[in-house]
């Protein structure tokens, strides 16, 4: 797991116009700049918002990436619930403290 790098990618994507341009122009090159596992790269690419949540990505980061990828608010919440159903409880990070949020 490399939650730090996964979250850093989303943090920079959310806040830096240059990173956003790279995302739009050459997504694979952008991904290559971060130490991600194959599962993490796949979840970002898809995007599998539910899996990203289960991987431990903080919602304060994830909700903006979901919006960038076209998820309306309710769809974003449902994607996380679907992620828990499909992949199990949150694996690491803040939400693992009490075995997930639900």
């Amino acid at each position: 797991m490399s939650l730090y790098h996964l979250q850093k990618l989303i943090y920079q994507l959310n806040r830096d116009p240059a990173v956003r341009r790279q995302y739009e122009q050459n997504f694979e090159e952008l991904l290559a700049g971060y130490e991600l596992t194959a599962e993490e790269r796949g979840a970002i690419r898809e995007p599998d918002i539910g899996l990203l949540y289960v991987m431990g990505v903080n919602g304060q980061l994830l909700m903006h990436y979901a919006a960038l990828r076209g998820f309306e608010w309710d769809a974003y919440l449902e994607a996380m619930r679907e992620g828990e159903r499909r992949y199990g409880p949150v694996r690491t990070g803040l939400y693992k403290r009490a075995g997930g949020t639900s």
């Binding site: 979250q7 959310n14 304060q60 903006h64 919440l77 803040l94 939400y95 403290r97 949020t101």
Partner: protein, 278 residues
């Protein structure tokens, strides 16, 4: 006494971004309380507004995360988020760099601080400003308490920061307003978004309104996470404000859970008493 106004208010992005989905009666009563707060703030004729907030990975990340950071810029901008998502237009917010520098230097005698001359406000500050200074004509000094990436600063140090801020305000000639914005219980941006523990909120508010230091500092992060969600960690902003106004009681102007805003919406104003020095 140069602290001329103090209060707390909520900042959830849904307050502006999902406004039309809220119960209109509750929403409009909440907005009315925020506007009443604006009027009282304006009546205090502040030279600057300190906003003690808890940003959400807009400027600060785990590569270099300060527990406490104070802005020291001539101007800021916000919101950093998509303006359509938050429904607050991107704007330039005036700062008060020279006053910031004096406050920071004074506070450093008592607390360790980071400072920042670049800062892009997220909803954590922009939503309060949208209601309190809608013309963006009052210089703002942002303060961030890390409430997002543990390990988090202990509550007692938030109180100590608040006291240091008060002493620094009292040493300045300017008329200074301070607001805290955060919490209270909420599970923002998670599958449990919209869940609000009203009983927990009201118990916390009772302690906050009476400025009961020992009871406020008795919360543990484990209990807070269990009962008030990860958003509950933002009680640090209320506790810093309570430290800044130690010995003063507050009036609760509004509290109501508004689930689509994902928080128990709160407005409270402090009746400021002189700080009792040790």
């Amino acid at each position: 006494m140069s602290l001329v106004f103090a209060g707390v208010l909520s900042h959830a992005p849904g307050i502006t971004g999902r406004a039309e989905r809220a119960d209109p009666t509750l929403r409009d009563a909440f907005y009315a309380s925020l506007d009443r707060m604006r009027l009282e703030l304006e009546a205090a004729r502040p030279d600057a507004l300190v906003v003690i907030g808890a940003e959400h990975f807009a400027n600060f990340f785990m590569n270099n995360m300060p527990s406490l950071c104070v802005g020291m810029a001539d101007a800021y901008e916000g919101p950093i988020e998509d303006v359509e998502w938050l429904r607050i237009a991107r704007t330039r917010v005036p700062g008060a760099a020279e006053l910031s520098q004096r406050l920071i230097a004074e506070m450093m005698h008592e607390v360790d601080l980071a400072y920042a001359q670049e800062w892009r406000f997220d909803h954590g500050i922009m939503v309060p400003l949208n209601f309190l200074t809608p013309r963006y004509d009052l210089p703002v000094i942002p303060v961030n308490i890390n409430c997002q990436g543990p390990p988090l600063i202990p509550l007692a140090r938030c109180w100590a920061f608040g006291r240091a801020l008060r002493r620094a305000c009292d040493a300045a000639a300017e008329r200074i307003a301070v607001v805290g914005t955060g919490g209270i219980s909420h599970w923002p941006a998670t599958p449990d978004s919209g869940k609000i523990n009203e009983a927990w909120d009201r118990a916390f508010l009772e302690k906050f309104l009476a400025n009961r230091r020992d009871e406020l500092l008795a919360y543990t992060d484990e209990e807070t996470y269990r009962d008030a969600g990860q958003g509950g960690f933002e009680i640090r902003t209320f506790i810093a404000l309570a430290g800044c106004t130690e010995g003063s009681r507050s009036e609760l102007w509004f509290y109501a859970p508004i689930p689509i805003f994902a928080v128990g919406c709160t407005v409270a104003v402090v009746r400021i008493e002189p700080l009792i020095t040790d």
